[in-house]
Symmetry: C2
Subunit: 791 residues, 2 copies
């Protein structure tokens, strides 16, 4: 785990005060820049040393074989892996005869700063070459939120202590050698030279390369143009070949003089458009960016982020590290999604190649809830991607002899790429997760046009799946047998409570939407009988209950399973799935991640407070959080049932997951769901926000560790602000029409005229509950040097 | 499915009246010869045409990688595959200028006969070459039951219609090219040239080759000596190289003259002995066989089989095809096991490379029950192989964090080679199957020396597994959760009735044996407390029951699952696992093979007759028999509960599985378990034989289709004969001390003085029950052109 002092604490910036070559992979992920379309890992400008070079285009993948020792019907035979595309980040520097390389000479200063308001990564270096010449290097990098195809880098080198011959080389490099991936079963596939050159060209200091993939049939182009400012006599030369386009700038600096290079980098890719079209596209993008210029791009970037922070910021007083971490988390959610525009949002954003760049249920369940109330257009875009992938999901359902659609457990484009069906295909809840994201988006935005179009189709076809997946038994109960819920230490279980409740909600949401949009529903062949069947199934869904224990089982029979022997489980045996067979995990009462507890959050209204607390405490004792998807949900329910200390600890664990490298695998990419989960833990946890589609409700609670929490959110065209302080909660309608909300169940009318302040009494503290030994909140990662193979 | 007329019906011989090139693979398996150590597929002497050349040595395998799209802890990474070893069967014939090849010229006659009393495969051919010369070829092949390393072939060619220049070439060929295996996920791996030459040598007409494997580190040697008889002037030449040792005999025959070649073929292999030692061994074996000579080997073979048939034959009157099929089945069981001698008995014997030559639970559960009462030394040997593999099973258990042993689901040498854990590792019942085979063997033989040695260890270590696998819940019930029973259309289920009952029996058998052999048990660290824990667990084991339906569920919750829509399942969608995903199968009430019904057979005393009948009929309606392991068990329980017509049909299906190629994959090898199941269906089904270790019991029933069933068996040193005829049952003690048996529950004292005849009243017929449409007994295979990937 990273030393908490590795980053300077600052509310708006993440500052790395010195370079740690042992943690390069971690910093490459932490300092990755992205706009949801382009992702640049935080590799050093000069390319080396590196952990993993990474330049990604959302959706640009290669096809790989999925092998099986024993195959089976319906097993996907082809996988997809996110490709490291043509790298345009390189700026190599030669000082006199010495290449600038942080491993040689003396690094007098090396500070990197991720500025979350500017949307830039800055680097400030003073380096003395092995021959004794000292230079200052400052670079600033941004991936534009405004110009989607554009990244830009300004690189300045100054001779500090005497004259220096200086050469800068800026290049596009395709098929970079990559380090071998780990033994982690879910790491990215190794692919040696996946890109085939289609064209290479240069025009002065402007260069461009076009490549296609061997198997997946995708095409991409990258273009680079340069502006150089410095003393007279800069000589520019250009070399272009299949996998390299390089522009070299050579000059001599007198002491104090500097050479400044601005490079405009554009990317484009397509499965259908021709290479000439892509080439024109990237050249045009470079032209547009150059016209705006460096300062113009910086200004656009800040203006974009100013607006986002203005309506989405979270302020925390009382824990500066948490303040920084929560802003970092939200910034990463924005980076991963802002301009994804009808492409999937991968589990790691575009920050690394972990999980092969795949998208899972995390997107709808963790990332979209945060986006829905902060960047709703991005939530809409992501759901439109799901909608566009419906034909593939329909084919997959047909392959499985099921009605409706079955969305893939893991994918880049939409095809199922999961190679282990008990934790893939059988996790049918992803379909209800998609439907719930539709429902939530419509609740939060009232976007009826979306609801009647893509939304209705998504709801109807997922409802059809559930109607076919479940069945009414002899007594009329609606059962869903042999499926896998969120907890990946259980699988192939009957009547998973989370899944059953989500399915019922999916069925009702489809029925309600079909009633509201009867004409559109008729076009989808929905008739009254089908709607009635959905409602009947939803009403009859089985919710297991263990009368003896007074506990809601995660799935039927779960509370009768063998109890895990935590006392005999050494800390180095976590994550358990790397040390115990699935059989033992599945047949034991040991929980990887919130499952029944997730249901307590999403369906709190169905469980009285006492039941919620009893269930939470029961599962708390057997939940090991070997998944980064767990702590945020536990934080929400802990806050809900009164365990405020725990909620605070879990919020910290969630928000700091990557800054502290708690799963020891941030080098493979950020844990986007956990980061988005920080927003959830604050807003749904301490804010107690719930949205039933009728009235937006809050049940705020402030943990004793904090003096203030203030969060802003969007709701049906309005801007809201909620401020929690020890004695009062203040609700402010910052923009939009008056609205009635609920505060701990009581209706409150908000208008823009003035804030509404409510005095409250903190809830009684409840006696603490102990998680499994060694798995206490905010302590994970200690001793865990193994990667977390399933997030 | 093979035309029933493909074989001439004969009680002791299987006669193929003409060669069908379309069915070569089938006949190669049907006509395979083996003694349990050497296996020779029924390939034509001249090698071509062929479906799959096959020469196997029991236990001689190569290691292969097992790949996974998504790996997991405890997944086996190395598999094992039975190798096609050096082929010594070839005799190539050149007549004048024409090679004898059945695809060219005219085949005037081609008759092959498997003689089940002689233990030989005969071939009788008249062939006219394309040039018009007609010759008669007669060959006889045997794999010796008496001389374990020896096979011998006599090959005679006679010039029928004029003089002929004749050349015979007899060879050893290593690394024969093999056809690619099918897409069947469980077919053998392709291995191009697995054998590396270690030596090759010749001495006159005697040749020998030694090879080793690349990965598994095994060594083998093959030697060949020849005796040639014919007109003077036979010229003999020898060629030897790495992968070929060939002896050529050339002569000229006048009309009516013949040339006769006798070839003595010896094999040896070892993981530990040196190549010189193996070479000596095979040369010595050839020397010993030559000394006995052709007629001597024939005589020994017949004498061996005479004795086996004398105490193990089954006579059936009223269905000649069934008579032939049942003897064929028993003959194949003998071939697969007689001289296996502490090697595994593979699911396909040594008749083909299906399932990679692996051994499964079939061995203990289907093959050993037949052997235990017919060839008990072979049953003992097989159990000693399990015992010798215990260190590997102990390692595997430790890997899985389990106590005791976990035997591999599939293996050649003892390592787990299963690549799909829900139907491999999770099928823990194999451990109780092994224990039950120990218990049965001791019951049937009273072999207390075995019991106190290997038997006790097997019982104790398997009992320890169950004690750790299950647990007592809050009410004290002993549960075994998340395991897979026999039915492979279910998996990862709680409290599988078969598994729980078998586990309880395993625990009690271990406890009883530990009590009987207290000193030996103490050496295994068994103390009174452990024994008491076993007995407590066994007494408390959960047996699910559905009170509403009055049905015993196959596992907890099973009777609440979705019913399979048989009416919408077209016949070409069987076997279902090739057309539907595991998810759908596992969560539906559809049964591949007897599971709960298997428990009704093995634990009949726990279920009153009415319950057995109700359960049988319930499961009969949902059992599709996509496994060849099912029909024989259904036959037994059908007979038990009064469905005699069904029992008869299922017996026929079982016994004819390979002769009629009912699964369309006999070409990959025989279905040994189903063949052994014919014995079970006759003896435990119509004979109603049960052996509880106290009194051997019979409850005979004769189906209306048959006039007589007479079976012989061994029991604790005695030879018994039971004859069923429509009015009477006659029990004969043919040798051994007097014994009390039970007839339909009534004790009867048998002595060698005279048979005991009991008059009986046939049971009342019960109304028929319908299996799923299209899956009626004895009709399987119609329309099923796909292989059965999991037997």
């Amino acid at each position: 785990m990273i030393d908490p002092g590795a980053f300077v604490i600052d509310p708006w910036r993440l500052i790395e005060p010195e370079l740690d070559l042992e943690r390069l992979g971690h910093s490459e992920s932490i300092f990755a820049l992205s706009n949801g379309h382009i992702g640049l890992r935080g590799n050093l400008d000069e390319g080396e040393p590196h952990d993993t070079p990474g330049t990604y285009l959302n959706g640009f993948f290669e096809t790989v074989d999925l092998p099986y020792a024993e195959g089976g019907y319906g097993y996907p035979e082809l996988g997809q892996t996110l490709l490291n595309v043509t790298n345009g980040k390189h700026v190599r520097l030669l000082v006199d005869d010495e290449p600038f390389d942080v491993r040689y000479g003396t690094l007098e200063r090396h500070v990197r700063t991720l500025d979350m308001r500017a949307g830039t990564l800055e680097r400030d270096v003073v380096w003395t070459s092995p021959a004794g010449r000292t230079v200052e290097v400052r670079s600033t990098r941004l991936v534009s939120f405004v110009q989607r195809s554009i990244a830009v880098i300004q690189y300045e080198v100054r001779a500090l202590d005497g004259p220096a011959r200086v050469v800068l080389q800026s290049s596009l490099v395709a098929n970079e050698p990559l380090p071998a991936t780990s033994d982690d079963p879910r790491s990215a596939e190794d692919l040696a030279t996946p890109l085939v050159c289609e064209y290479h060209t240069s025009n002065g200091a402007e260069v461009s390369l076009g490549h296609s993939t061997r198997e997946s049939g995708l095409r991409m182009a990258a273009a680079l143009d340069h502006l150089v400012e410095g003393p007279n006599g800069v000589i520019t030369t250009t070399d272009v070949e299949d996998d390299l386009a390089r522009v070299t700038f050579s000059t001599e600096l007198r002491q104090g003089e500097s050479l400044t290079l601005t490079k405009y980098l554009a990317y484009g890719w397509s499965a259908s458009r021709s290479m000439p079209a892509l080439r024109d596209q990237v050249d045009a993008a470079v032209a547009a960016a150059s016209r705006v210029g460096w300062q113009g791009l910086l200004d656009e970037q800040r203006a974009y982020l100013d607006e986002v922070w203005d309506h989405a910021d979270i302020e925390i007083v009382g824990d500066e590290q948490l303040q920084q971490a929560v802003r970092f988390a939200l910034f990463q959610v924005i980076q991963a999604s802002a301009r994804a525009e009808r492409r999937a949002i991968p589990a790691k954003g575009l920050s690394g190649r972990g999980y092969d760049g795949h998208t899972f249920w995390d997107m709808e369940t963790y990332t979209l809830p945060a986006l829905t109330y902060t960047l709703p257009h991005a939530a809409r875009d992501a759901l439109l991607w799901r909608h566009e992938a419906m034909p593939l999901a329909k084919e997959r359902a047909e392959e499985l002899s099921l009605p409706g659609v079955t969305f893939p457990w893991r994918t880049i484009r939409g095809e199922e790429c999961s190679g282990y069906w008990p934790a893939g295909t059988a996790a049918f809840h992803i379909n209800a997760d998609v439907a719930d994201a539709v429902r939530r988006y419509v609740h939060a935005t009232d976007d009826r046009e979306f609801e009647s179009g893509a939304g209705l189709e998504l709801l109807v076809e997922t409802a059809r799946l559930w109607a076919g997946l479940g069945h009414h038994d002899a007594e009329g109960n609606f059962r869903i047998d042999g499926v896998t819920g969120p907890d990946e230490y259980s699988a192939i279980a009957d009547n998973n409570t989370f899944t059953n409740l989500m399915a019922a909600r999916n069925l009702l949401a489809a029925a309600d939407a079909a009633d509201r949009h009867a004409d559109r529903a008729a076009e989808l062949d929905v008739d009254d009988e089908e709607v009635a069947r959905w409602r009947r199934a939803a009403r009859a869904v089985v919710i297991p209950y263990d009368e003896e224990l007074g506990i809601t089982p995660q799935s039927e029979g779960f509370t009768r399973y063998r109890r895990w022997d935590f006392d005999s489980t050494p800390e180095e045996h976590y994550p358990l799935l790397l040390h115990y067979p699935y059989y033992l995990l599945y047949s034991s009462q040991v929980v990887k991640q919130a499952d029944l507890v997730f249901a307590l959050y999403l369906f709190g209204e169905l469980f009285p407070l006492e039941q919620r607390r009893r269930d939470f405490e029961y599962y708390e004792r057997i939940t090991v959080r070997d998944s980064s998807l767990s702590a945020c949900i536990q934080a929400i329910v802990a806050a809900d049932v009164g365990h405020l200390d725990m909620a605070y600890d879990y919020l910290r664990e969630t928000a700091l997951v990557d800054l502290r490298d708690q799963a020891s695998n941030t080098a493979e990419g950020l844990h986007l769901a956990s980061l988005a989960g920080s927003w959830l833990a604050v807003v749904a946890g301490f804010g107690g926000m719930r949205d039933d589609g009728e009235t937006l409700a809050f049940s705020p609670r402030l943990p004793p560790q904090l003096q203030r929490i203030c969060f802003r959110m969007l709701y049906r065209g309005r801007q809201l602000q909620v401020e929690l302080s020890p004695e009062t909660v203040r609700y402010t309608l910052r923009a939009g029409e008056a609205v009635t909300i609920r505060h701990h169940g009581e209706p409150i009318e908000l208008s823009c005229d003035a804030p509404t302040e409510v005095t409250w009494t903190p809830s009684e503290p409840v006696p603490p509950v102990e998680p499994p030994s060694g798995r206490e909140a905010n302590r994970l990662g200690i001793g865990a040097d193994a990667p977390d193979p399933i997030h």
